[in-house]
């Protein structure tokens, strides 16, 4: 803080010094009682131009000072906003960990007790068996949710591997895995992958290959999930000014505008997601992975036309 103040006061003193010296010298000359005059033999055009230039210089200097101040204020405001966001993320992380801590014991107890209710399931009548299955499925579901939330909280802070990662390979792996899965479930999908070869292939990034796979996988899986089986999904890689971009686009139902801001938050499931299985944590995970790699993930969507998600990561 004192450094910043020093940087602002220094130039001001330097600017005032000539003025002060001039005033002091004038005072001394007046005090001497002698009548001294300067006669300048400059042509009038030069004198006029000089006065004009001096006024311009003074105006420019004033404007520069004001701009500097505005910039300093803007920098301070953005630093405060960033710090505020980080505080918010930290508070959020603490909340997730508390939630995990408070939920894991009750859920463990439920799962441990349940088999004792009906050690031999074949002895239950149909209604009892259904009720038992419901209890078991929902306990497992809760269990999974607790584990996923903790995973998110943990991925925000744990040290990451810093390996050289070929994002093009990661994209191809994720698309191949999801394509296989779709085919195995009886609904083959068309996923078009476009990766640059000229003028150069997709630059590598530094980070954790497993987590980057997870991010790309979740984006492609979402595109498949929220678009009709006969519609194409496109995955494009590109690089721009030191940033590697992976774009995943679908021509599905799109996301209503009022839901778009929140899609990367935990447990958010949009209207379109009703009736489609999922935890509401897939995109939150993508966001954490992007942030931990110094990147971002953004979304553009038009209801009725489709959605495009862009993962941007710093190139090596």
């Amino acid at each position: 803080m004192s450094d910043a103040r020093g940087r602002r006061v220094g130039p001001l003193l330097a600017a005032l010094l000539p003025g002060l010296l001039g005033l002091l010298a004038a005072g001394a000359l007046l005090g001497s009682g002698r009548s001294l005059r300067v006669v300048v033999g400059a042509p009038l055009p030069v004198a006029v131009a000089t006065v004009g230039l001096l006024v311009t210089a003074a105006a420019l200097a004033g404007a520069a000072l004001a701009r500097g101040r505005r910039r300093a204020v803007a920098v301070a405001a953005s630093a405060a906003e960033r710090a505020g966001r980080e505080d918010e993320r930290a508070a959020h992380r603490r909340f997730l960990l508390r939630l995990d801590h408070e939920m894991k014991n009750p859920v463990t107890a439920m799962r441990a007790a349940l088999p004792g209710v009906a050690p031999d399931r074949t002895l239950l009548d149909a209604g009892q068996a259904r009720a038992y299955d419901t209890l078991e499925q929902q306990a497992v579901r809760l269990s999974g949710l607790v584990a996923e939330l903790r995973k998110l909280a943990e991925l925000e802070t744990r040290p990451l591997d810093q390996e050289d990662v070929d994002l093009a390979q990661v994209v191809q792996d994720a698309v191949a895995d999801l394509g296989d899965q779709a085919a195995a479930s009886g609904v083959a999908r068309t996923i078009t992958v476009t990766l640059p070869r000229a003028p150069w292939p997709l630059p590598h990034v530094r980070g954790d290959a497993d987590l980057l796979y997870l991010a790309v996988h979740n984006l492609v899986a979402n595109a498949l999930k929220f678009s009709p089986a006969d519609s194409p999904v496109e995955v494009r890689g590109s690089d721009d000014d030191g940033v590697v971009v992976v774009e995943v686009a679908d021509s599905g139902a799109g996301i209503p505008e009022h839901e778009q801001a929140a899609v990367f938050d935990e447990l958010v499931r949009g209207e379109q997601a009703r009736g489609i299985p999922g935890s509401g944590l897939g995109l939150a995970l993508v966001r954490v992975v992007a942030q931990r790699h110094g990147g971002t993930v953004t979304l553009r969507s038009r209801p009725g036309q489709g959605t495009s998600a862009r993962l941007r990561l710093p190139a090596v």
């Binding site: 014991n105 859920v107 463990t108 107890a109 441990a112 995973k151 792996d173 290959a209």
Partner: protein, 239 residues
């Protein structure tokens, strides 16, 4: 074979009750304790074959229980009900000398499987491989605290994940591990990553150690199931 004696320690009565009856039905003899002090007292009296111990407990926590046992030269196996995640935690885990970890909430079947696996590995009265600082298998030496590896006296370099994977395989030799289980061991939690991730790391281990997949000395592929460390593993001493 007599029923293994399990000492179950957790401060939540609901968890103690549920797990105790589950493990009893699975053919184990179970006693319970509600905190670390009570657990140590019962352990001295009852001499269980294994302890299953929560971490956060009043009076004496789970980690302190393990430390006290090990400090007294007691190598009764312990499964801690927490997560081993970050590498810093992993070295702490090595120092505290627990035999396995299971994160809450879990499937009681999974706890049963882990308890059986730890009991199978344990040699009564002897420290387990997971407590060793160094492991040796033929030409291969792994320094677990320094995370350094030598083959025939020459140091080789593995990425952090490959070295963690080698560590896990060597501390659990001669056991078949599915790719999912290995991923969980690497991350400390289930990560829905491609099983390729494990294959890549195993390929790296083989390349760096000069191991031949067709005639492995160290890591053996068990077709369509997973991997197994096939060399004999001993505790090593630091030079």
């Amino acid at each position: 074979m007599t029923a293994p004696r399990v000492l179950l320690v957790d401060d939540e009565e609901a968890i103690r009750d549920g797990l105790a009856s589950f493990l009893t039905r699975s053919g184990m003899e179970v006693e319970t304790a509600g905190d670390g002090e009570a657990a140590l007292a019962l352990h001295a009296r009852w001499r269980p074959d294994i302890l299953v111990c929560d971490v956060l407990m009043p009076r004496l926590d789970g980690r302190s229980v393990v430390r006290r046992l090990r400090a007294a030269g007691d190598w009764t196996p312990v499964v801690l009900l927490t997560q081993v995640g970050e590498s810093s935690e992993r070295s702490a885990a090595l120092e505290e000398g627990a035999d396995d970890y299971l994160n809450k909430p879990f499937d009681p079947q999974e706890l049963h499987a882990r308890v059986r696996a730890v009991l199978r590995r344990a040699v009564p009265g002897e420290p387990p491989l997971v407590s060793a600082e160094r492991l040796v298998s033929g030409d291969l030496v792994l320094d677990r605290t320094a995370r350094r590896v030598w083959v025939a006296g020459r140091e080789v370099m593995l990425t952090p994940k490959a070295s963690l994977l080698l560590d896990y395989l060597m501390t659990h030799p001669d056991e078949l591990h599915t790719r999912e289980r290995l991923l969980e061991a690497l991350w400390g939690f289930e990560l829905a990553v491609s099983s390729r991730a494990v294959d890549h790391r195993v390929a790296e281990i083989r390349r760096v150690l000069g191991d031949d997949a067709a005639a492995p000395r160290y890591v053996e592929t068990v077709q369509s199931l997973g991997y197994r460390f096939c060399g004999a593993v001993q505790r090593g001493v630091r030079p």
